[in-house]
Amino acid sequence: MQYDSSVASIRLVGVSKHFGDVKAVDNVSLDIADRDFMILLGPSGCGKSTLLRTIAGLEDPTAGEVWIGDCMVNDVEPKDRDVSMVFQSYALYPHKSVQANIEFPLKVRGVNKAERAEAAKQAAEVLGLTPYLERRPGALSGGQRQRVALARAIVRQPAVFCMDEPLSNLDAKLRAETRAELVALHDRLNATFVYVTHDQVEAMTMGNRIAVMRDGIIEQVGSPKEVYDKPASVFVAQFIGTPPMNIFPAGSVEAADHVVGARPEHTHLTSSGVAATVALVEHLGHEIQVVCTIDAEHRAIVRIPAGTEVPGNGSSVFLTADENHRHRFNVKTGLRIS
């Protein structure tokens, strides 16, 4: 399918969205380049969906400006923003066939019957839905419904695709497959994707840029590698990566004016260092994860190769962090120092 999108960069300038006293999004500024695959990542309630809905036009910002291309779209209706949206629940019309669902945005826009049938056929082909065109959504599996929702989004060739946790209702295997399909779709369509998820694996594997959100603000924007290798704050460090980064108590590894963090693969069990107690040993097959308790507030996980001899639960151990892979954060603000 030949995609014909216009330039669709998105610029958010000081965007806030308040619901009464709750600041769902608080003074967020963000540039999303044309044809970016931007991931809005964060825990539940961090404001990522609200921000996406503000871009789509389903929420009016309390303050700030939303630009799509060269247009300030604050007062533009969702249908006129050249944006399509894929919902977590898919939001398919249950009384319409798959074909009618896919065609529907074109029908509303007054495209004639033959053209919309052709467009729906093409979109269905791209997403492998051709055998199901006559079925109703109720007769489809979760994965198929999700693809119908995608087909409905691509059929009118919008400049921007907004996706609100579209994979969260799928089982783990299908989710992994669909992740790859979505990346391929982005490459094929060459459009701007804004994708909301709380799943950092999705964020790391799909996006070319990630905006990590917390409590309505953006903590860090960068490529998956940047966000992983140089987290801007303790929050980002611990949110990205499975298992999360270990944060050592201030003064236990280096000077007391900052805290040190190290990824589990850069944390080692040694004969001297930070004293800890083994709380749990998890054998994952390809590796072993040793969960250690440093004190009441600090835990650390060490990854070691499978087959290595490991201390038992309750053993006293010492931990060190690789000199070359240490992350230093301000004790008070939690922001990155180096």
Binding site: L58, P78, K79, M85, F87, A91, Y93, H95, F104, R152
Partner: protein
């Protein structure tokens, strides 16, 4: 299962016996009406429970002498107008209460619902005066307008509209549908079974109206079936079974409607009971 529970066969025997007795109570007047309507007038009082003579003359007499054709037409027109306009007003108001945002929505809806507590009889006199002052006595407007909006219809449809996921409204918004388009293309098709049931309720209620038509019709041409039957009963005292025949004529159309739409009726009654 507790030991003292009667065996399954016994329980169903008792249940069906009870149902049969209740059914006999309900069907007995229907039976006597049919028997009387099909007997010649002079034999009605002999063996009133035994169908020992048969004639269609009484039905014919009721139809011609009672002008039931005219009344049937009036009733049909009234029932159709009331039903269709009631559906339109119920859809519109229920949609507003479900999907539109406006100040004091809950309060207004509460006031709307509270009208369900007011019986028809309470408003009868005031409504009669209003209709009179509008010059609508003996008119279809007078027979229909007071019934074209109901809180019941609004309430019923609002409940089913509320079950439509908000995402669907937003998806439609993204697709370019305004409220009118969403109502037409998505909301109404999704609640069609309930609409069918509501239509049927309205039709039945309107068809069986007696009190209101009898209050505002003084001209014979504007009588409905129910008020017409009263005239029939009082005009031909020497033919006691004429009124029975008239009743049957009045009941047949509604019986047909019920048989045809009974599926909708049951579906509508259970709408919302089970999450779909």
């Amino acid at each position: 299962m507790a030991l003292d529970t009667p065996p399954k066969g016994w329980r169903s025997f008792a249940r069906y016996s009870m149902l049969t007795i209740v059914a006999l109570f309900i069907l007995f007047p229907v039976y006597t009406t049919v028997i009387a309507a099909l007997k010649p007038g002079n034999k009605v009082l002999d063996n009133p429970l035994v169908p020992d003579a048969f004639t269609l003359d009484v039905l014919k007499d009721a139809w011609t002498q009672g002008r039931l054709g005219r009344y049937l037409m009036n009733t049909t027109v009234v029932a159709f107008i009331v039903t269709s306009v009631q559906l339109v007003t119920s859809i519109a108001s229920a949609y507003a209460f479900s999907f539109l945002k406006f100040p004091m929505k809950r309060l207004v809806f509460g006031i709307f619902l509270s009208t369900l507590l007011v019986p028809l009889e309470v408003t009868l006199v005031v409504n009669r005066r209003t209709i009179d002052s509008l010059g609508w006595l003996n008119s279809f407007q007078g027979l229909t307008i007071p019934f074209v909006a109901t809180a019941f219809g609004t309430f019923l449809l609002r409940q089913v509209f509320m079950q439509i996921p908000p995402d669907l409204r937003e998806a439609a918004q993204m697709d370019g549908l305004g409220h009118w388009g969403f109502m037409k293309e998505v909301a109404i098709p999704l609640v069609r079974p309930t609409l069918g049931a509501l239509g049927l309720f309205s039709f039945l209620a309107s068809w069986n109206q007696y009190l209101w038509p009898s209050l505002i019709t003084t001209e014979d041409d504007m009588n409905t079936l129910q008020t017409g039957l009263r005239l029939l009963a009082s005009s031909d005292l020497d033919k006691p079974n004429l009124i029975m025949a008239g009743t049957i004529i009045a009941a047949v159309p509604i019986l047909i409607v019920l048989v045809v739409f009974q599926k909708q009726l049951v579906r509508g009654l259970t709408a919302g009971a089970v999450k779909g």
